[in-house]
């Protein structure tokens, strides 16, 4: 038998079982759809990043640092300008803004630009459509739409920042380099440099990102040369050019693509599991045909072709449908990130991703149909004669030979899955972990399903109570020949487990962040306090109702490490985290040992000590190889500070602003420009009053309510989690489709049952109830299994890998169980509602 004949038989058989195969193709489509959607969007997005790199950066090159440039650096920039490299200066910082209608200030992300030059590339769109230089004057600003809403200020209204009033000239509709900047968490307030100067927010030591954008001209040096020059001018800055687009975006995109691809692969695997189940049932049903062909001289290999072709048709059909679904998903993604990016509509279909999704769909389907396909070899032609006799026990050698093939198939599947995962994630290690993890989950689920089904059956047989006939009948249906309840439970359980794990991990992580500010720790932080404001601000805080702890105000001086034990920093080999000491950082001084700080080595200095001394944080001391007696040298505001290491300390507290990696004594940093940072613990009800009062009297001091910041974090986590949940829901859909297909697979048996029940006087309603009991049990059991395993997995993930706390919460688990039962019922009924209408005589006559 050649392939042509095999395909003819394959096609005819598929057509005769089209109802069942339709469901299976849908399950594959769910997985391929998710995969194509994620990868397609990612690839289109990367393509867009590349093609619009200059726009996304708003320049050809950019430098970013957290200190103001000095005069030498400005001179070097002037020199570059004379060679045709134009520049514009962008400052980004966080501060507070308020309006007449909203006296409570909001945390805003300020961006100050030169409206005559910015942006070099791309278009900053305003509404109403003004030119940027008309909108941004020393007296007027532009707001993002969300800020306009939160402040309740329309265009033409007044907003207050840094104690100064500004007229709102326009709303920012799109900002090309929104994602390329820093300190982007708050609501956007765009202003001119003159306006920023008016606010008085920027002083030496203030927390602000300084960004220079550069535009090359035909006369200027090339991008590589300019990049080299900029690196020399700003050794501490991050210099990037448009060719890299934005490394953090691409890195983030790569990571999330890998993660989401693997999530989609799970949905695909659940779909493939459905194909395997359907193929198994199909081959069982076609056993007679296979035996006839074998008795007519057909070899296993020839017959295998028919079913291999069917598996391929299913994989391909489901895959093509999935590609169509995937294109729909791709269209949904831009909406999720519309706040940050404007995605062109032409980036909505990606042929590469479609091919990839199709290939993964086909491969996974073929891998999972290996076991049922191999079972064809075991069908003996003799069954035509002796169906009613028990199958003879095969000699052990034959059994071993056949199980060898099954083990080889299992190994092949594992390797294949690992291979697909490695291909999708570009990492062999990740592929191996994925395959290993998945197999473990599947084994665990199968085991639990097996135990649960056996227990339920034992309960049914030995229950001391009288179970209502309807429930008993519904439960007994689970053990109907060919019902594949175990496989349905595994498939649906995988979906529930995965979706719920994602939810539980995400929620616990967020809770851990919230809880990481334990009682007594500051929950309100005050940034950019000047020497002059320090004492009155302290007084104001202490006078506030709702104060729950002693306020702390920490000085901060911008300084850069220049040498350790007489060796210049450049000659030291520092790697990893320690490299941050190559740039300007914030250091502090303290006369007394701060709270939550313990001395590990050496001794804290006596108050008023004249010798410059420093205490170094444990980790920094380890990286820089410092111990009591070592000497360090630092540069701050043009002055060299030399200090002896007096102690090594460890701090267990949340810090914001000033780090205390280097704590000097007061005399070491005396006379240097200083900014103060504060932290205070307030009762929840007192935070807003403090914010309002501090803002009224000290408008340039930024008050960060950690609860607000957590909201921002939550929003970001929620957005990512939404995408993941959306995709992992595909695994549930695939599971439900499999349930439907399994129900469709037992259609003839069900019809017969329905008919007999009806003949014996059963009403449609009664039959419907029996079926509902069966579907509900399947859903509830799958839900329980999924949530038990999800709880276990998230506990392991959180405790072992993410170092976070896990707390069992019955509510989400209960909701998951109920929802699964609802889904199972819907899927079951979708596949069997037509059965109820069967007329008994039609069926009985055909018997």
């Amino acid at each position: 038998m050649n392939w042509r004949i095999a395909s003819k038989i394959a096609w005819r058989e598929m057509r005769s079982s089209s109802y069942r195969f339709l469901f299976v193709a849908l399950a594959v489509a769910a997985g391929v759809g998710a995969l194509t959607g994620v990868r397609g969007f990612s690839q289109s997005f990367r393509g867009m990043l590349l093609s619009e790199a200059r726009t996304l950066m708003a320049g050809d090159l950019s430098t970013r640092m957290f200190a103001l440039p000095n005069e030498e650096q400005f001179a070097a920039l002037e020199d570059l300008a004379s060679r045709g490299v134009t520049r514009t200066w962008v400052t980004e910082t966080l501060s507070m803004a308020s309006s007449a209608s909203t006296p409570d200030p909001l945390l805003v992300s300020i961006k100050a630009v030169d409206p005559k030059v910015y942006p070099f590339y791309g278009n900053l769109r305003l509404e109403p459509a003004l030119a940027l230089r008309e909108a941004l004057t020393p007296e007027s600003v532009a707001l993002s739409e969300d800020l306009e809403l939160r402040l309740g200020v329309p265009v033409g209204g007044t907003v207050r920042v840094g104690g100064q009033d500004f007229r709102v000239a326009a709303i920012v509709a799109s900002e090309p380099d929104r994602m390329s900047g820093s300190l982007n968490v708050g609501l956007r307030l765009l202003m001119s440099r003159e306006a920023l100067d008016r606010t008085g927010l920027i002083r030496p030591g203030s927390r602000a990102a300084q960004r220079f954008l550069f535009k090359l001209s035909p006369q200027s040096p090339g991008v590589e040369e300019v990049r080299g020059i900029l690196r020399k001018i700003f050794p501490e800055a991050r210099v990037i050019d448009f060719r890299e687009t934005h490394p953090s975006i691409t890195r983030g995109l790569n990571r999330s693509t890998t993660f989401l691809s693997l999530v989609s692969l799970i949905a695909l695997i659940v779909g493939a599991l459905g194909v395997a189940m359907a193929m198994h049932a199909h081959i069982q049903q076609k056993m007679d045909s296979i035996a006839i062909m074998k008795s007519l001289g057909g070899r296993s290999g020839q017959i295998l072709r028919i079913y291999l072709l069917q598996a391929m048709m299913l994989g391909l059909g489901g895959g093509l449908l999935g590609v169509a679904v995937g294109s729909g998903i791709q269209a949904l993604f831009p909406a999720l990130i519309a706040k940050y990016f404007h995605v062109r509509p032409d980036a909505l279909f990606n042929p590469g991703a479609a091919v990839q999704g199709l290939a993964a769909g086909l491969l996974t389907t073929l891998l999972f149909t290996l076991p049922p396909l191999l079972s064809i070899r075991r069908i003996r032609p003799g069954i035509i004669f002796r169906r009613e006799m028990p199958e003879a026990r095969l000699p052990w050698r034959t059994r071993a030979r056949e199980s060898r093939a099954a083990w080889a198939a299992a190994g092949g599947m594992l390797l294949g899955l690992g291979g697909i995962a490695a291909w999708l994630s570009d990492s062999v290690r990740l592929g191996a972990w994925f395959a290993g993890g998945l197999v473990t989950s599947l084994i665990a689920l199968t085991l639990v399903a097996w135990i649960l089904l056996r227990s339920l059956r034992a309960f049914l047989r030995r229950s001391p109570w009288r179970i209502p006939a309807m429930v008993r009948h519904g439960m007994a249906n689970l053990y109907r020949p060919g019902n594949q309840a175990e496989a349905v439970l595994v498939a649906l359980g995988v979906g529930v487990m995965f979706t719920l794990t994602v939810y539980l991990v995400q929620r616990s992580l967020l809770e851990t962040i919230v809880k990481s500010a334990p009682p007594g720790m500051p929950n309100v932080f005050l940034l950019d306090i000047t020497e002059r404001e320090r004492e009155p601000l302290l007084e104001l805080i202490q006078a506030q109702p709702g104060l729950a702890g002693k306020p702390q105000i920490v000085p901060s001086v911008a300084a850069k490490l220049s040498g350790v034990n007489g060796t210049p920093l450049e000659e030291l080999r520092i790697e990893g985290w320690g490299r941050r000491w190559r740039s300007t950082r914030s250091v502090s001084w303290q006369e007394e040992l701060p709270e939550h700080t313990t001395i590990l080595q050496g001794q804290w200095w006596p108050k008023g000590a004249a010798e410059p001394m420093v205490s170094v944080a444990e980790e920094t001391a380890k990286i820089l190889n410092l111990s009591p007696g070592s000497r360090i040298e630092m540069l701050a505001s043009g002055r060299t500070i030399q200090a002896r290491v007096a102690a090594v300390h460890r701090t267990e507290a949340i810090r914001l602003g000033a780090t205390n990696d280097f704590l000097f004594n007061a005399s070491a940093l005396a006379g240097l420009p200083t900014i103060y940072y504060g932290g205070v613990r307030m009762q929840p009800g007192g935070v807003v009053a403090l914010q309002r009062e501090a803002y009224r009297r000290f408008p340039t001091v930024t008050v960060v309510n950690v609860v607000d910041a957590l909201e921002v974090i939550q929003e970001m986590v929620d957005q990512i989690a939404l995408v993941v949940r959306f995709l992992s829901a595909f695994a549930i859909i695939a599971g439900a489709v499999i349930l439907a297909s399994s129900v469709a697979g037992t259609r003839f048996r069900r019809i017969r049952e329905v008919v007999i029940l009806k003949t014996l006087g059963g009403t449609r309603r009664r039959v419907a109830r029996i079926f509902s009991v069966e579907f509900s049990i399947l859903g509830l059991v799958a839900g329980v299994m999924g949530s038990v395993l999800a709880t276990a997995f998230s506990a392991i993930l959180l405790k072992e890998l993410l170092d976070a706390e896990f707390r069992f919460d019955p509510l989400p688990n209960a909701i998951a169980v109920v929802l699964t039962a609802v889904i199972a019922n819907s899927a079951g009924w979708l596949a069997s509602f037509r059965i109820l209408g069967q007329k008994p005589l039609e069926v009985l006559r055909d018997e």
Partner: protein, 234 residues
């Protein structure tokens, strides 16, 4: 002359774990080429099992079967299939047609399974369908044919590759007497034309009357083996 079927010490035991059932208890049988043998016996006497073993559809517990000069007892599944495809034609009690193939495609199947793929095959299939009177039904699916018609398709299929041996297991068992008679006439007529060895399993004495040799099985053993003058079917 070497018999086309040579059987020695054939046994078949089915072990279902808890108990063993001895179906055949040691059969010796030689069938010369061209003979028409009827195997008779009560239900459960082991006649269908014997036929299945002769055709290599199942493996014996012990004993030897030499088919057309080849010992088939040690052959692998696929080798047996190849041998069947070339050597044996089959007619089953319940027709055993592939439901998704048309009558003509069903007849062609053994030819195609053996690697055939040409106009010759189609020509022969049509000829055979013509000789069983189903010329106008060749594009019909099994479900569109009556029981007698389905068995006629099965007959045509059995002769498709001109096998030297034809095995028929209760070929009229599912048919009414008129149809059964017609099928038997066709079977004998086709067999005469094609010159094959015919092994017919039946419990119907009238049917067995057409055979030149009558082998009777009881409880897994041959209890009588007689050569006789065949009666012409009425």
């Amino acid at each position: 002359m070497q018999p086309i079927i040579h059987v020695r010490g054939l046994t078949k035991t089915i072990d279902s774990g808890s108990h063993k059932v001895e179906i055949l208890k040691g059969i010796d049988l030689d069938v010369p080429a061209g003979q028409f043998v009827a195997i008779m016996g009560q239900s459960g006497s082991g006649k269908s099992t014997l036929l299945g073993l002769l055709a290599g559809l199942d493996t014996p517990t012990s004993g030897t079967i030499i088919l057309d000069g080849r010992d088939i007892t040690g052959l692998e599944e696929d080798d047996l299939a190849l041998l069947r495809g070339r050597t044996i034609g089959f007619v089953f009690q319940s027709y055993q047609l592939i439901p998704t193939l048309t009558a003509e495609e069903n007849v062609l199947l053994p030819y195609e399974l053996g690697g055939g793929n040409g106009a010759d095959g189609v020509k022969r299939a049509r000829e055979l369908l013509g000789s069983v009177g189903l010329d106008d039904r060749r594009d019909h699916y099994p479900v569109q044919l009556s029981g007698g018609e389905q068995q006629r398709v099965a007959l045509a299929r059995a002769f498709m590759v001109k096998p030297p041996i034809l095995m028929a297991d209760e070929p009229t068992g599912n048919l009414d007497s008129a149809n059964g008679r017609h099928i038997l006439e066709l079977l004998i007529e086709l067999n005469r034309r094609e010159g094959a060895t015919l092994i017919l399993v039946t419990h119907d004495r009238t049917l067995a009357g057409s055979a030149s040799r009558l082998v009777t099985l009881s409880d897994g053993l041959i209890v009588s083996d007689e050569l006789r003058e065949p009666a012409v079917p009425a």
